[in-house]
């Protein structure tokens, strides 16, 4: 499945300082859909190069990270159970506090 993943607010530092990743995520054997839960573990294995605890806590993102599926808060689409479709854009953004 072709997806565009974006990292911001400093999270890009965890994946080679690259913000936009066009990726192809293979569906697991026997599964017919890809959920955000699957995608998170794929990202952790394939994209996160350092300090994974700065990206995830347990099986979800760490506090302070907003997840947006097609420019919409994943809280509105079912969080971890959100199912993804071809060409979806998923943004992971760390909240900023500076000023």
């Amino acid at each position: 499945m072709q997806l565009t993943l974006e990292f911001g607010g400093g999270l890009e530092l965890l994946c080679d300082s690259k913000k936009i990743h066009n990726v192809n995520v293979e569906l697991q054997n026997g599964e017919d859909k890809l959920t955000m839960k699957d995608l998170l573990s794929w990202v952790r294995t394939n994209l996160i190069k350092e300090r994974p605890e700065m990206f995830m806590k347990g099986d979800t993102v760490r506090p302070g990270v907003l997840v947006l599926v097609n420019d919409c808060d994943w809280e509105l689409s079912g969080q971890l159970s959100t199912s993804l479709e071809e060409k979806d854009v998923v943004v992971f953004i760390s909240t900023l506090h500076g000023g």
Binding site: G10, G64, V91, L96, G99
Partner: protein, 510 residues
């Protein structure tokens, strides 16, 4: 002798300059206040829409906007906005809010203006370096628009004063309006006291003071408040505190943040939209909260977000357009991208604003935001103490080592871009993140130093010292170096800041 005389002269001139600058800013301040007073008197001859000829002329470009017009401007003039933080975000926000004619504009900040603020905190001028930001910002606002009321809150925002600052008018302000309100307040208190006296025989004596108290509180609440709060602060605990305070008092919050080359903006607690806690119920780990003083920030980035904060506050105050509630603006300066995303609505389970939440003013006063976020409210740099004294030396002791030409290697563990700003002579830059992989470089540097010193200095082997910016990373580095066999490694306490402070005053700090 002549050197002593010259330095005496320099300090005399500096002292005189300082006192002249202070006198100048006091005069500027007074001019602003008098001009405002004069305008108030002149504005008495207002037209039927309540706008004086001068106001019509001043705000004419606003009045010409069909979607804004007289009613928008009148709403603005009757509104009151509090900006918390007169820094990178607050600077442009305050200037625009002052210029556009917000009736009452409050500024909260406890900091002083510093030279390293100037690249982004454009409300301040060099004249004000060393003076309170609130004073500097208020003076700038008054010089842009002397017809509005500018209120200075020169204090750090805390749970102990936030409710009062947000919702009550300060009676100790040297402002005409404040005095006017206070007179009114005193008059009404007396009036109600006499009314009470006249009906005294009808009420039980015990209840009288309670009734008086309720009357006083309700009157204070009625007179004195800010309609809209703008969060232009720079740390996580203050952001939670401001949001909770807005929830408790039912005020909309225009929240902006900027760091590095990115910015974020949204409106909380407005028209059924979420509050900060709905979005971030659990605070992020301390390591995820970066500061501009550590990570850097391109000056114009908070400038852009601050301008947008002013815009959102103006929209709410003037009742025009669609404020950015339930949505968030994400700004990426480097790629020139602005993304506006839909965020969740008010959470029924929210601890602050949820269905069953009973977050009261009393709970707010008692809530420990520093403990909740594991971050101090005042933005002072972290000072770790990880090493025993025998593994540390002071910057002065290190200077002795250089002067005595003792064989040694000094490793600077800051990131490479920091090293490029300034470094100690002959220091070897090995960033902390690459330390483990580059141990052989340290070994060979030590070996070379020993070889170079054969016959020059007798006996001891070359020592290994570690330095960084403030003396935290150097301790972490020494800990891992000691684990990896460099048992005599020591860190320089307080890093390059201490070097600049205690050894070489001409050494640049950043």
């Amino acid at each position: 002798m002549s050197e002593i005389r010259e330095s005496d002269n320099a300090s005399r001139i500096m002292a005189e300059l300082q006192s002249l600058k202070e006198a100048k800013s006091t005069i500027d301040n007074k001019i602003g206040l008098l001009e405002a007073e004069l305008r108030d008197i002149q504005n008495d001859g207002a037209s039927s829409n309540g706008l004086s000829p001068e106001m019509i002329y001043r705000y004419s470009r606003h009045l010409l906007l069909p979607n804004f017009g007289v009613s928008g401007q009148q709403n603005l003039l009757n509104s009151s906005i509090l900006v918390v933080g007169a820094g990178g975000l607050g600077s442009p926000a305050l200037l625009y809010l002052a210029a556009c004619g917000v009736g009452r504009l409050g500024i909260v900040d406890h900091d002083l203006v510093e030279l390293n603020n100037m690249h982004r905190q454009i409300i301040h001028t060099e004249t004000y370096i060393g003076q309170p930001k609130v004073k500097s910002a208020a003076s700038a606002c008054r010089s842009v628009n002397s017809s509005i009321q500018v209120v200075e809150h020169q204090e750090a925002l805390r749970t102990s004063n936030a409710l009062e600052i947000f919702s009550k008018y300060p009676c100790n302000s040297n402002n005409n309006m404040a005095i006017f309100f206070c007179f009114n307040l005193v008059f009404l208190i007396f009036l109600s006291f006499f009314i009470l006296l006249s009906i005294l025989p009808l009420i039980h004596y015990d209840h009288m003071f309670t009734i008086m108290w309720i009357l006083m509180i309700s009157m204070t609440e009625h007179f004195v408040r800010y309609d809209i709060i703008v969060d232009a602060t720079d740390n996580a605990p203050t952001r939670y505190m401001i949001s909770d305070c807005c929830v408790v008092l039912g005020k909309p919050l225009v929240s902006g943040a900027a760091l590095g080359l990115e910015g974020q903006l949204t409106v909380y607690n407005y028209n059924g939209g979420p509050c900060y806690r709905c979005l971030f119920p659990t605070p992020p780990p301390t390591t995820a909260c970066q500061r501009c003083a550590d990570s850097g920030v391109l000056g114009v980035v908070p400038g852009i977000i601050g301008c947008l904060q002013a815009l959102e506050a103006i929209k709410i105050a003037a009742s025009v357009g669609e404020p950015l509630s339930g949505r968030m603006l994400l700004f990426d300066a480097l790629s020139a991208r602005i993304r506006i995303v839909k965020i969740r609505g008010r959470s029924l389970q929210c601890e602050a604003c949820g269905e069953n939440s009973k977050f009261t003013q009393q709970q707010f006063r008692e809530f420990d935001y520093e403990n909740f976020t594991q971050t101090p409210l005042s933005v002072s740099p972290l000072k770790l103490n990880l090493l025993p004294n025998e593994s540390r030396i002071s910057s002065k002791e290190y200077n002795e080592i250089i002067l005595k030409k003792e064989p040694h290697v000094v490793v600077d563990v800051r990131p490479a871009h920091h090293f490029k700003i300034v470094s100690l002579p002959k220091s070897l830059n090995i960033p902390l993140s690459t330390l483990e992989a580059r141990l052989p470089e340290i070994s060979s540097a030590l070996k070379k130093e020993e070889e170079d010193n054969i016959g020059v200095v007798s006996g001891s082997s070359a020592q290994l010292y570690v330095v960084c910016r403030r003396g935290n990373d150097s301790q972490r580095a020494v800990q891992s170096l000691q684990k990896m066999g460099f048992t005599s490694a020591k860190d320089i306490v307080g890093g390059l800041e201490s070097w600049a402070h205690n050894v070489d005053p001409n050494f640049p700090t950043y």
